[in-house]
Symmetry: C2
Subunit: 215 residues, 2 copies
């Protein structure tokens, strides 16, 4: 029997020890943890696709979470401004949090413009090969601008928003994303199926329905 | 059939919509999400207890995660120093990340000294009543110092560490923690049982084994 008051040497199995490993969580969940990093212009469909993929994964019995502007902008990253340093730090923190979720055995989907290759690659570099799936939401600027969901492009064209990605600030297209999805013209269900098929191919999903541990 | 290129008005169920809610995740998991916030002096047994509770919860089929120095100090909070502002920001970020895990339906356990009431209460205030369980790891300074797991107290006494909690910096004992655990003399298994019983009482755990959704 271990006592908290025992010195560590006498109970090195229990003392400070994390016994619930990523592998045990993944066995419990019936799928691998991973980071699905959606990138693309504003209006390219990142958030829509991320949530639709999440819905499909949830129905398959997977454990998932979406990180997007809605849940990090005013919380974890609420102290950051839109300066270069602020944008770099924003993506860094999102990467670190995504990594924690992945360690927890979860399929975490991130939906941020993340326009700079260097920022995305910095996240990729802190993750083990195969755990980071970069998905380019491939929609032309013309289509994004015609959608203009929040009226942001109109404001950017009028010069009311400084450094708006695609208009007055660059978007660096991924050179070797794990997946390129035609979110400009394909149907949503088609895009979702394409992502799910990719996760199957990579062994992140093992079965059509997750086979979880039973007791 | 929704297309990504449809304007939002025509597909307001799908567009940008988070359909996998906390409630659906909790139903999937068979337990509630919550934040179990362990606080206490260095050496009081926070991390040991958090990991032992996690092991017990995992064996019951729960989804859990421990946030502690090992996984946030060099990652998410790697840019922070030990100044007052750095310590405040450290606890703030941990609170925000814990909140995201809770929204994901997970029982997240945090193990940080978190010596100041104001910092702990700031986290409490951003969480809904009943979702934040503060657990005081109640071990006297004498016992913590006699354990001195990492030799830190010795160094602090020798003046080699500035502002060491309990020696040269205050620890503010929680006034109304949800639970006070005698980590100074009780056996580890007893402490774990006490925490599990408390989670049962609060309805975070509903059954002895999680009854999860089957398909």
């Amino acid at each position: 029997m271990n006592k908290l008051s025992d010195p560590p040497a006498s109970s090195n199995v229990v003392w400070h020890q994390a016994t619930v490993t990523r592998a045990r969580r993944e066995a419990q969940n019936g799928h691998r943890g991973a980071i699905i990093w959606f990138t693309g212009l504003s209006g390219s469909g990142k958030s829509t696709l991320a949530h639709a993929v999440e819905e499909s994964l949830h129905q398959r019995g997977c454990r998932t979470f979406v990180l997007d502007g809605d849940n990090v902008r005013h919380g974890l990253c609420g102290d950051l401004d839109f300066s270069d340093a602020g944008r770099v730090e924003n993506i860094r923190r999102i990467g670190e949090v995504a990594k924690l979720f992945m360690e927890a055995g979860i399929i975490v989907l991130t939906a941020f413009i993340s326009p700079y290759r260097a920022d995305r690659d910095r996240v990729r570099d802190m993750i083990k090969e195969g755990d980071f799936i970069e998905i380019y939401c491939d929609t032309s600027l013309e289509i994004c601008e015609s959608r203009d969901v929040k009226g942001m492009y109109k404001k950017a064209r009028a010069g009311q928003i400084a450094e708006f990605t695609g208009i007055s600030s660059p978007y660096e297209v991924p050179e070797n994303p794990e997946l390129d999805v035609d979110t400009g013209s394909a149907e949503l269900d088609t895009c979702v199926s394409q992502v799910i098929a990719d996760l199957m191919k990579r062994g992140i999903l093992l079965h059509d329905q997750c086979i979880t541990e039973t007791r």
